[in-house]
Protein backbone atom coordinates (compact mmCIF):
# COMPACT_ATOMS: atom_id res chain seq x y z
CA UNK A 1 0.00 0.00 0.00
CA UNK A 2 2.74 2.38 0.97
CA UNK A 3 4.31 3.09 -2.36
CA UNK A 4 1.68 2.21 -4.91
CA UNK A 5 1.37 4.46 -7.88
CA UNK A 6 -1.76 3.44 -9.64
CA UNK A 7 -3.40 6.34 -11.37
CA UNK A 8 -6.87 5.92 -12.69
CA UNK A 9 -6.58 8.57 -15.36
CA UNK A 10 -3.98 9.01 -18.07
CA UNK A 11 -0.64 8.47 -16.44
CA UNK A 12 2.43 9.10 -18.45
CA UNK A 13 5.21 11.02 -16.87
CA UNK A 14 6.88 13.40 -19.24
CA UNK A 15 10.58 13.31 -18.61
CA UNK A 16 12.23 16.69 -18.43
CA UNK A 17 14.67 15.37 -21.00
CA UNK A 18 11.91 15.03 -23.55
CA UNK A 19 11.00 18.69 -23.28
CA UNK A 20 12.40 21.24 -25.67
CA UNK A 21 13.71 24.59 -24.49
CA UNK A 22 10.57 26.24 -25.87
CA UNK A 23 8.33 23.82 -23.99
CA UNK A 24 10.17 24.44 -20.73
CA UNK A 25 9.85 28.19 -21.08
CA UNK A 26 6.17 27.95 -21.94
CA UNK A 27 5.61 25.79 -18.86
CA UNK A 28 7.64 27.90 -16.46
CA UNK A 29 7.46 31.51 -17.61
CA UNK A 30 3.78 31.92 -18.38
CA UNK A 31 1.97 30.56 -15.34
CA UNK A 32 0.93 34.10 -14.54
CA UNK A 33 0.63 37.47 -16.27
CA UNK A 34 -0.81 35.89 -19.40
CA UNK A 35 -1.25 38.84 -21.80
CA UNK A 36 -4.67 40.48 -21.83
CA UNK A 37 -4.16 41.74 -25.34
CA UNK A 38 -6.09 40.81 -28.47
CA UNK A 39 -3.33 38.40 -29.52
CA UNK A 40 -1.75 36.96 -26.35
CA UNK A 41 0.02 34.07 -28.10
CA UNK A 42 1.66 36.47 -30.53
CA UNK A 43 2.87 38.55 -27.56
CA UNK A 44 4.35 35.43 -25.96
CA UNK A 45 5.94 34.49 -29.27
CA UNK A 46 7.64 37.85 -29.48
CA UNK A 47 9.16 37.42 -26.02
CA UNK A 48 10.32 33.92 -26.93
CA UNK A 49 11.62 34.78 -30.38
CA UNK A 50 9.42 32.24 -32.14
CA UNK A 51 6.27 32.44 -34.26
CA UNK A 52 2.73 32.72 -32.93
CA UNK A 53 1.88 29.44 -34.62
CA UNK A 54 4.77 27.71 -32.84
CA UNK A 55 3.46 28.90 -29.48
CA UNK A 56 -0.07 27.73 -30.26
CA UNK A 57 1.07 24.37 -31.63
CA UNK A 58 3.42 23.75 -28.69
CA UNK A 59 0.74 24.59 -26.11
CA UNK A 60 -1.66 22.31 -27.99
CA UNK A 61 0.89 19.49 -27.84
CA UNK A 62 1.56 20.02 -24.11
CA UNK A 63 -2.18 19.93 -23.51
CA UNK A 64 -2.59 16.70 -25.44
CA UNK A 65 0.34 15.17 -23.52
CA UNK A 66 -1.26 16.18 -20.25
CA UNK A 67 1.58 18.47 -19.14
CA UNK A 68 -0.88 21.34 -18.87
CA UNK A 69 -4.55 21.15 -18.02
CA UNK A 70 -5.44 24.44 -19.66
CA UNK A 71 -4.35 27.93 -20.47
CA UNK A 72 -6.62 30.25 -18.61
CA UNK A 73 -7.79 31.56 -15.27
CA UNK A 74 -7.26 30.19 -11.79
CA UNK A 75 -10.15 31.47 -9.70
CA UNK A 76 -9.78 32.32 -6.06
CA UNK A 77 -11.87 29.76 -4.20
CA UNK A 78 -15.25 30.91 -2.97
CA UNK A 79 -15.07 34.22 -4.80
CA UNK A 80 -16.78 32.84 -7.87
CA UNK A 81 -19.29 30.25 -6.73
CA UNK A 82 -18.74 28.17 -3.61
CA UNK A 83 -16.65 25.12 -3.00
CA UNK A 84 -15.57 22.82 -0.24
CA UNK A 85 -13.11 20.08 0.50
CA UNK A 86 -14.82 16.94 1.71
CA UNK A 87 -13.52 13.69 3.16
CA UNK A 88 -14.90 10.21 3.75
CA UNK A 89 -13.60 7.19 5.62
CA UNK A 90 -14.44 4.45 3.14
CA UNK A 91 -14.01 0.72 3.88
CA UNK A 92 -11.22 -0.45 1.56
CA UNK A 93 -13.40 -3.01 -0.22
CA UNK A 94 -15.82 -0.22 -1.20
CA UNK A 95 -13.30 2.45 -2.15
CA UNK A 96 -13.41 1.93 -5.91
CA UNK A 97 -17.20 1.88 -5.97
CA UNK A 98 -17.59 4.99 -3.79
CA UNK A 99 -14.90 6.89 -5.73
CA UNK A 100 -16.74 6.19 -8.99
CA UNK A 101 -20.02 7.32 -7.45
CA UNK A 102 -18.42 10.59 -6.31
CA UNK A 103 -16.82 11.06 -9.75
CA UNK A 104 -20.26 10.94 -11.38
CA UNK A 105 -21.07 14.38 -10.03
CA UNK A 106 -20.22 17.19 -12.38
CA UNK A 107 -19.77 19.40 -9.31
CA UNK A 108 -16.76 17.32 -8.19
CA UNK A 109 -13.52 18.48 -9.79
CA UNK A 110 -10.83 16.73 -7.71
CA UNK A 111 -11.09 13.30 -6.15
CA UNK A 112 -8.11 11.55 -4.58
CA UNK A 113 -7.35 8.52 -2.49
CA UNK A 114 -5.10 9.47 0.43
CA UNK A 115 -3.24 7.42 3.03
CA UNK A 116 -5.37 7.88 6.13
CA UNK A 117 -8.51 6.50 7.80
CA UNK A 118 -10.17 9.34 5.92
CA UNK A 119 -9.06 7.91 2.60
CA UNK A 120 -11.24 9.64 0.00
CA UNK A 121 -10.81 13.40 -0.47
CA UNK A 122 -12.70 15.43 -3.00
CA UNK A 123 -13.48 19.04 -3.86
CA UNK A 124 -17.02 20.01 -4.84
CA UNK A 125 -17.90 23.34 -6.42
CA UNK A 126 -21.30 24.84 -7.13
CA UNK A 127 -22.96 28.09 -8.00
CA UNK A 128 -24.41 28.55 -4.53
CA UNK A 129 -24.52 27.15 -1.02
CA UNK A 130 -27.87 25.35 -1.38
CA UNK A 131 -26.72 23.46 -4.46
CA UNK A 132 -23.42 22.49 -2.82
CA UNK A 133 -25.15 21.19 0.28
CA UNK A 134 -27.62 19.21 -1.82
CA UNK A 135 -24.76 17.49 -3.67
CA UNK A 136 -22.96 16.50 -0.47
CA UNK A 137 -26.19 15.34 1.18
CA UNK A 138 -26.90 13.23 -1.88
CA UNK A 139 -23.43 11.65 -1.82
CA UNK A 140 -23.78 10.96 1.89
CA UNK A 141 -27.14 9.25 1.56
CA UNK A 142 -26.24 7.25 -1.54
CA UNK A 143 -23.00 5.95 0.03
CA UNK A 144 -24.34 5.56 3.55
CA UNK A 145 -21.15 7.18 4.84
CA UNK A 146 -20.56 10.42 6.73
CA UNK A 147 -19.06 13.23 4.69
CA UNK A 148 -16.65 15.48 6.56
CA UNK A 149 -17.37 18.97 5.31
CA UNK A 150 -14.25 21.19 5.36
CA UNK A 151 -14.92 24.51 3.63
CA UNK A 152 -12.18 27.07 3.37
CA UNK A 153 -11.98 29.62 6.16
CA UNK A 154 -8.90 31.55 5.06
CA UNK A 155 -6.49 31.30 2.14
CA UNK A 156 -2.86 32.00 3.07
CA UNK A 157 -1.27 31.06 -0.19
CA UNK A 158 -0.16 33.61 -2.72
CA UNK A 159 -0.36 31.77 -6.01
CA UNK A 160 2.56 32.74 -8.19
CA UNK A 161 2.53 29.48 -10.08
CA UNK A 162 4.93 26.63 -9.41
CA UNK A 163 8.59 26.70 -10.30
CA UNK A 164 9.45 23.54 -12.17
CA UNK A 165 12.96 22.27 -11.56
CA UNK A 166 14.37 20.32 -14.42
CA UNK A 167 17.55 18.95 -12.87
Amino acid sequence: MSHRINQSIADKEISALELTALERRLLNDFQRDFPLSATPYADMAEKLGVSEQQVIDTLQKLKEQGAISRVGAVFRPNRVGVSTLAAMAVPLDRLEEVAQLVNEYDEVNHNYEREHDFNLWFVATARDDAHLKAVLDDIESRCGLTVLFLPLVEDYHIDLGFELKWS
Binding site: T39, F75, N78, E113, F149, L152, V153
Partner: protein
Amino acid sequence: MNVPKIPEGLIQMPGLDERDKKLVAAIQSGLPLCSHPYAEIGQQIDMAEAEVIQRLQRLLDNDFIKRMGVVVRHHELGYQSNAMVVWDVPDAQVKALGHCMGQFEFITLCYQRPRRLPEWRYNLFCMIHGRDRDDVLRCVELVVERCSLQSVAHEVLFSQRRFKQRGARY
Protein backbone atom coordinates in the same frame (compact mmCIF):
# COMPACT_ATOMS: atom_id res chain seq x y z
CA MET B 1 -24.10 15.72 7.57
CA ASN B 2 -21.37 17.37 9.54
CA VAL B 3 -22.02 21.12 10.05
CA PRO B 4 -22.73 22.23 6.48
CA LYS B 5 -23.08 25.99 6.80
CA ILE B 6 -20.68 28.06 4.73
CA PRO B 7 -20.06 31.59 6.03
CA GLU B 8 -22.42 34.03 4.32
CA GLY B 9 -19.60 36.32 3.25
CA LEU B 10 -18.13 33.66 0.99
CA ILE B 11 -21.37 32.93 -0.81
CA GLN B 12 -22.06 36.36 -2.16
CA MET B 13 -20.36 37.51 -5.30
CA PRO B 14 -20.09 41.27 -4.83
CA GLY B 15 -19.42 43.19 -8.00
CA LEU B 16 -20.10 40.25 -10.28
CA ASP B 17 -22.94 40.93 -12.73
CA GLU B 18 -24.72 38.58 -15.13
CA ARG B 19 -22.29 39.28 -17.96
CA ASP B 20 -19.32 38.53 -15.69
CA LYS B 21 -20.94 35.23 -14.78
CA LYS B 22 -21.48 34.35 -18.44
CA LEU B 23 -17.84 35.15 -19.10
CA VAL B 24 -16.62 33.07 -16.16
CA ALA B 25 -18.69 30.14 -17.40
CA ALA B 26 -17.24 30.52 -20.90
CA ILE B 27 -13.58 30.49 -19.81
CA GLN B 28 -13.59 27.96 -17.00
CA SER B 29 -12.30 25.11 -19.11
CA GLY B 30 -9.58 27.33 -20.57
CA LEU B 31 -8.97 29.82 -23.34
CA PRO B 32 -9.00 28.58 -26.93
CA LEU B 33 -5.59 28.10 -28.53
CA CYS B 34 -6.04 30.38 -31.51
CA SER B 35 -4.83 33.77 -32.68
CA HIS B 36 -7.67 35.80 -31.10
CA PRO B 37 -8.84 33.79 -28.08
CA TYR B 38 -10.74 36.63 -26.40
CA ALA B 39 -12.64 37.38 -29.60
CA GLU B 40 -13.57 33.71 -29.90
CA ILE B 41 -14.79 33.59 -26.28
CA GLY B 42 -16.75 36.77 -26.97
CA GLN B 43 -18.45 35.21 -29.97
CA GLN B 44 -19.72 32.34 -27.83
CA ILE B 45 -21.43 34.70 -25.41
CA ASP B 46 -22.26 37.63 -27.68
CA MET B 47 -19.68 39.99 -26.15
CA ALA B 48 -17.19 42.22 -27.94
CA GLU B 49 -13.50 41.29 -27.66
CA ALA B 50 -12.72 44.58 -25.90
CA GLU B 51 -15.38 43.93 -23.29
CA VAL B 52 -14.07 40.39 -22.66
CA ILE B 53 -10.57 41.77 -22.04
CA GLN B 54 -11.81 44.65 -19.90
CA ARG B 55 -13.93 42.37 -17.72
CA LEU B 56 -11.11 39.85 -17.28
CA GLN B 57 -8.78 42.66 -16.24
CA ARG B 58 -11.30 43.75 -13.62
CA LEU B 59 -11.76 40.20 -12.33
CA LEU B 60 -7.98 40.04 -11.91
CA ASP B 61 -7.81 43.45 -10.24
CA ASN B 62 -10.61 42.46 -7.85
CA ASP B 63 -8.84 39.19 -7.09
CA PHE B 64 -11.69 37.00 -8.34
CA ILE B 65 -9.04 35.52 -10.59
CA LYS B 66 -5.80 34.62 -8.81
CA ARG B 67 -3.75 34.37 -11.96
CA MET B 68 -4.09 33.89 -15.70
CA GLY B 69 -1.71 31.64 -17.53
CA VAL B 70 -0.52 28.12 -18.17
CA VAL B 71 -1.93 25.70 -15.60
CA VAL B 72 0.53 22.81 -15.29
CA ARG B 73 -0.18 19.29 -14.13
CA HIS B 74 2.54 18.48 -11.60
CA HIS B 75 2.18 14.75 -11.78
CA GLU B 76 2.78 14.50 -15.51
CA LEU B 77 5.85 16.71 -15.17
CA GLY B 78 7.63 14.36 -12.83
CA TYR B 79 6.23 15.53 -9.51
CA GLN B 80 5.01 12.04 -8.77
CA SER B 81 4.36 12.53 -5.10
CA ASN B 82 1.98 14.90 -3.42
CA ALA B 83 0.76 15.11 0.11
CA MET B 84 -1.79 17.08 1.99
CA VAL B 85 -0.19 18.02 5.30
CA VAL B 86 -2.63 18.85 8.07
CA TRP B 87 -1.73 20.67 11.27
CA ASP B 88 -3.47 21.16 14.60
CA VAL B 89 -2.48 24.74 15.26
CA PRO B 90 -3.63 26.83 18.25
CA ASP B 91 -6.41 29.12 16.99
CA ALA B 92 -4.54 32.25 18.02
CA GLN B 93 -1.57 31.29 15.83
CA VAL B 94 -3.37 30.16 12.67
CA LYS B 95 -2.92 33.42 10.83
CA ALA B 96 0.79 33.82 11.57
CA LEU B 97 1.58 30.18 10.80
CA GLY B 98 -0.57 30.21 7.66
CA HIS B 99 1.42 33.15 6.34
CA CYS B 100 4.66 31.43 7.28
CA MET B 101 3.71 28.27 5.35
CA GLY B 102 2.14 30.08 2.42
CA GLN B 103 5.48 31.45 1.28
CA PHE B 104 7.30 28.19 0.50
CA GLU B 105 7.59 27.60 -3.21
CA PHE B 106 6.87 23.87 -2.88
CA ILE B 107 3.59 24.59 -1.08
CA THR B 108 0.87 25.00 -3.68
CA LEU B 109 -2.09 25.57 -1.35
CA CYS B 110 -2.35 26.71 2.26
CA TYR B 111 -5.80 26.97 3.80
CA GLN B 112 -7.36 27.27 7.20
CA ARG B 113 -10.37 24.94 7.50
CA PRO B 114 -12.69 24.18 10.42
CA ARG B 115 -11.97 21.39 12.90
CA ARG B 116 -14.62 18.68 13.10
CA LEU B 117 -14.20 17.25 16.57
CA PRO B 118 -13.96 14.52 17.59
CA GLU B 119 -13.17 12.98 14.18
CA TRP B 120 -10.97 15.73 12.83
CA ARG B 121 -8.65 17.92 14.90
CA TYR B 122 -6.65 19.66 12.17
CA ASN B 123 -7.31 23.26 11.16
CA LEU B 124 -4.47 24.20 8.80
CA PHE B 125 -3.98 22.40 5.49
CA CYS B 126 -1.19 22.68 2.97
CA MET B 127 -0.39 20.83 -0.23
CA ILE B 128 3.16 19.82 -1.07
CA HIS B 129 4.31 18.52 -4.45
CA GLY B 130 7.60 16.65 -4.70
CA ARG B 131 9.55 14.35 -6.98
CA ASP B 132 9.05 11.44 -4.57
CA ARG B 133 8.00 10.67 -1.01
CA ASP B 134 11.36 11.50 0.53
CA ASP B 135 11.37 14.81 -1.30
CA VAL B 136 7.96 15.65 0.21
CA LEU B 137 9.04 14.56 3.71
CA ARG B 138 12.14 16.75 3.48
CA CYS B 139 9.87 19.67 2.62
CA VAL B 140 7.70 18.93 5.66
CA GLU B 141 10.79 18.91 7.90
CA LEU B 142 11.86 22.24 6.48
CA VAL B 143 8.43 23.75 7.21
CA VAL B 144 8.52 22.39 10.79
CA GLU B 145 11.93 23.92 11.32
CA ARG B 146 11.36 27.30 9.65
CA CYS B 147 7.92 27.91 11.18
CA SER B 148 8.86 26.41 14.59
CA LEU B 149 6.20 23.71 14.51
CA GLN B 150 8.08 21.11 16.57
CA SER B 151 5.29 20.85 19.14
CA VAL B 152 2.40 21.03 16.66
CA ALA B 153 0.61 17.75 15.85
CA HIS B 154 0.47 17.04 12.12
CA GLU B 155 -0.13 14.23 9.65
CA VAL B 156 1.12 13.74 6.11
CA LEU B 157 -1.57 12.34 3.81
CA PHE B 158 0.16 11.12 0.68
CA SER B 159 -2.05 10.81 -2.33
CA GLN B 160 -2.64 7.42 -3.86
CA ARG B 161 -5.04 7.01 -6.75
CA ARG B 162 -6.22 10.14 -8.49
CA PHE B 163 -9.79 9.51 -9.54
CA LYS B 164 -10.49 12.94 -10.99
CA GLN B 165 -8.66 16.22 -11.64
CA ARG B 166 -9.95 19.13 -13.68
CA GLY B 167 -10.78 22.82 -13.33
CA ALA B 168 -13.84 23.87 -11.36
CA ARG B 169 -17.18 24.30 -13.13
CA TYR B 170 -19.74 26.66 -11.70
